[in-house]
Amino acid sequence: MDFRLTPEAQEFYDEVCAFFDEHLDAETIAREERTGDGFDRAFHEALAERGWVAADWPKKFGGQERDAHEMYVLDQEFLRRGCPRNTSVTTGLVGNTLRVVGTERQKRELLPGIASGRIVISLGYSEPQAGSDVAAAQTRARREGDHWRIDGQKMFTTGAHLTDYIFLLARSDASGGKRDGLTMFLVPTDSEGFEAQAVPTLGGERTNLSFYSGVRVPDWLRVGEVDGGWDVMKVALSLEQGVGFSGSAETLHRRALEWAERAGRLDDPLVRERLARTALNAEVGKLLEQRAVWMTAEGRPMRAEGPMCKLFTSEALIEDAGSLLDMLGPDALESGGGPTSPAAAAVEFFQRYAQGTAIYAGTSEIMRSLIAEQGLGLPRSRSG
């Protein structure tokens, strides 16, 4: 039993910190706080140059064969620093899915581009009528010779205004069951008939509604079998396991503590309790995450450990951000910033940002159902 970072991860962590110190300037953070893009090309290219966009990949695809521990260290540093992150996460996720289910041509033509930072990819799962019930997707894919014609729209296509491909879940056959007749594609965003429309959010992040009107996608960009899209989704969703936000909780704690010190309020038991609670929750969240990382690294089969990270860290962040905002009293009203704003405004930012963490990549209700079913063996509580 050992709760330290592995020596490799510790060494990598030091390198990561040095990298962020050098490349993540105040201007990049300010731009992110302003635009909510979740992506900064210059930073992403610097990251790629360092070999860290796909650091976990085999060397032949441009990776460094870093393990789950090291990848975790990198990911949490994005969170702790408030660095543009969303597109890195989605691109890595799609890249890893391609490594498992992609064709040789897809691997050959796309993976190097991803690793080199040239290609970035968004997820196109949700639709206006298919959110938690993602398998209910209605966006149509119709075969036309060696191409597919895509018609429909997707919701919450984060990054779609900047990325090169949408990793799209579409209905290729509407005659069968909900999870049959789905097929997945990589849709180039420079296709005719593609459009992304901004959807601003409470947390300041920009996401998109994306439209597909007769978009033509060559068959080689189909991922997985025809009508076998749900199998691909299962791979992709399993790679999202263990997502957590303890890095955000750490930053929230640090900034709120800074407020208490400056405001001379650190002797108030109600202040002390709420700060200590946040520190405690950040620690528990980190441990749940590290367990999932360790199990991934060891190849141990997971049951509910992934959803537990997501559920605990997002719900605790919501609870703590709200309680720390209240703690500020009238100081809470200063706002409009991001995690690096003056302390009180940073807490206000987290109160907005936290809400999203319990929604995207699976709501808390879905996480609780997964834990009940996979972890406790309870029956399903919803059909389909």
Partner: protein, 340 residues
């Protein structure tokens, strides 16, 4: 126990429910962000006589009690109306109690809202004053005297962007000239009354906000289908909404009781006011949070209205203070001040 509203009270409630539904759409609320004030709506609202409703008829007001004002505040909150009703109406009553007819008349006829500085100027010279960003004058307790400070000519308040898009601002209260309205014990007592009234009407507004949050969530849950059923048929969605509906009902009753007690059970009134403020604040925050998450991803998008409620739910009470500190004040009022 008789919870029936009088005919006149019902009329007031319906009138202002109709007024805000018609005149204060949520589109208007959005347009008024981040300042949180519509001069146009304010003008129309002032014409209803609502600002002076709690002022004796002999002084040109409507002569109603605080409970009628709470009904209006609740409707304000339900529709997030971008007008500082609570601040102006409470300040007008303060002027009436202080027998300052000229200041009162000016205030009721003036185009600009009145505001009240909730904390002592000597302790908090830079305090952010609710409605301070748009007020023509501010009533404040300074050096033991209740003063009326008019907006200095040419001076423009600095209005910080804030969580609830509330028109708060700091004023140069410590140094600006002010008309002395009362001094000594009387000044302090009337100031304290005004702050209590502000807290109660703000609690009433939070009840309206909380109730509408629950309604928005329930409507969404009825219409939105996932996994072949309306999401409101899943207990994971329905049960938290039921808890919130219960809390908001309780908060409404508590606010009404606290207002009622000011005249009819004055010895319980201070504790009830702290209870009402703390509980309305918590219930509204919870209702807005649950409703936001009921909306799933849409709740997080700025396009849906629930986020407007979510941000104000915590911001309105915080203009005064942390609800948990209000619980400490409640303890002071129930058990006497702490000796530690």
């Amino acid at each position: 126990m008789d919870l029936a509203l009088s005919e006149e009270q019902e009329l007031i409630r319906e009138t202002f429910a109709g007024f805000f539904s018609n005149e204060s759409s949520l589109e208007l609320v959005r347009e008024c962000e981040p300042l949180g004030f519509s001069a146009d709506l304010w003008k129309k609202f002032a014409e209803t006589g609502a600002l002076g409703m709690g002022v004796p008829e002999s002084l040109g007001g409507g002569g109603t009690g605080l409970i009628e004002m709470a009904l209006v505040a609740e409707e304000c909150g339900r529709q997030l109306a971008p007008v500082p009703f609570v601040e102006s109406a409470v300040a007008a009553r303060l002027l009436a109690r202080l027998e300052a007819p000229d200041a009162l008349e000016a205030a009721l006829e003036d185009a600009a809202p009145l505001a009240l500085a909730l904390r002592l100027v000597d302790d908090s010279p830079g305090q952010r004053i609710p409605a301070g960003a748009v007020a023509g004058s501010v009533l404040a307790l300074r050096g033991g005297a209740l003063v009326r400070v008019s907006r200095p000519p040419g001076w423009e308040p600095d209005c910080p962007k804030n969580h609830g898009s509330a028109p708060i601002a700091s004023w140069p209260l410590a140094e600006a000239p002010g008309e002395v309205l009362a001094e000594g014990e009387r000044a302090r007592a009337e100031f304290d009354t005004a702050v209590e009234e502000w807290k109660l009407l703000t609690a009433a507004a939070l009840v309206g906000l909380g109730r509408e949050s629950v309604r928005l969530g329930a409507e969404y849950a009825k219409g939105r289908e996932q996994f072949g059923a309306p999401i409101g048929s899943y207990q994971g969605i329905a049960h938290p909404l039921a808890d919130c509906a219960t809390a908001v009902d309780g908060a409404q009753l508590l606010v009404w009781e606290a207002v009622w007690a000011r005249e009819d059970e004055p010895e319980r009134a201070p504790a009830l006011a702290s209870m009402a403020f703390a509980f309305a604040a918590e219930s509204a925050a919870r209702a807005a949070t649950v409703s936001l998450h009921t909306h799933g991803g849409y709740g997080f998008s700025l396009e849906y209205d629930v986020q407007l409620y979510f941000r104000r739910a915590r911001a309105w009470p915080l203009v005064w203070d942390d609800p948990r500190r209000e619980l400490q004040r409640l303890a002071d009022r129930l058990y006497g001040p702490s000796r530690s």
